[in-house]
């Protein structure tokens, strides 16, 4: 609510309608969630190709997805995180964005 000083009695200005927007500041995580469909070899391939992981790193994250149900595969600024999430989704992986301050 915004109070406008008109020089006489205070009036209440109508609040502007706002659209909820994602706060882009801060660090964001790209999280890949497990699915029972995609092959382990496929997920490793995607991690290598999209995120540039070497084979052991890709395999480590794939196993984390498989065993823990999720893996944080990248953390950084919002724009780049969106790029990675989108590209992982192009490969039909369940990738989501999370603000860094969420605890898991």
């Amino acid at each position: 609510m915004t109070i406008v000083d008109t020089g006489t009695a205070p009036q209440i200005a109508p609040r502007k309608e706002t659209v909820p927007a994602v706060q882009p500041e801060g660090l964001w995580r790209v999280v890949v969630l497990n699915d029972p469909v995609n092959l382990m070899s496929y997920v490793v391939l995607v991690f290598r190709k999209v995120l540039g992981f070497d084979e052991p790193t890709a395999r480590k994250h794939m196993l984390e997805v498989h065993e823990a149900g999720r893996s944080v595969v990248w953390t950084g600024l919002r724009e780049q995180a969106e790029h990675y999430a989108f590209t992982l989704q192009q490969w039909h992986l369940s990738a989501i964005l999370e603000p860094q301050d969420e605890t898991h």
């Binding site: 994602v22 029972p36 469909v37 070899s41 391939l45 192009q90 039909h92 990738a95 989501i96 964005l97």
Partner: protein, 153 residues
Amino acid sequence: MKRIEVKLSLPVVAPLLDVIKNTADNLGDRLATPITLDDVDAAFRGEWREELLAEQTAEINTLLALFDSEFFATGVVGFDESNAIVIVRACSAVRLRLRERYLTKLPDEILEGGDVELSVLDDEVRKAFMCYLFLATVQELIIQHLDSAILDS
């Protein structure tokens, strides 16, 4: 990546193609992966989804085009640098839809292990599961033959 040509058994594969085609058609305007776009800015959400959908449709068209009249004449399908990645992705999309549409009664651990007793499945589910395995085999075959040039591109 060298071109791979695979000769498939027509009597085995042909009956699966109708299911694959129907499942691909059934995807329609839905994404194969049930992703939430809640974290995407509302202003971009529609565009984000439309772009994913357009790519998915193009991938699936490439997959279905493998099984053309030449395939039915020779039983041969070919993979090379121009189509390998697209087909691997299309297989993923169709497998996800097969799971959603026909295989929901199979527990995740059974599906992941592939240890399914086919004789207890009804005909529709059994055929869908065969498609699911067939597309996984195509994916494995391509992934084994991808070289570092494709991974780096």
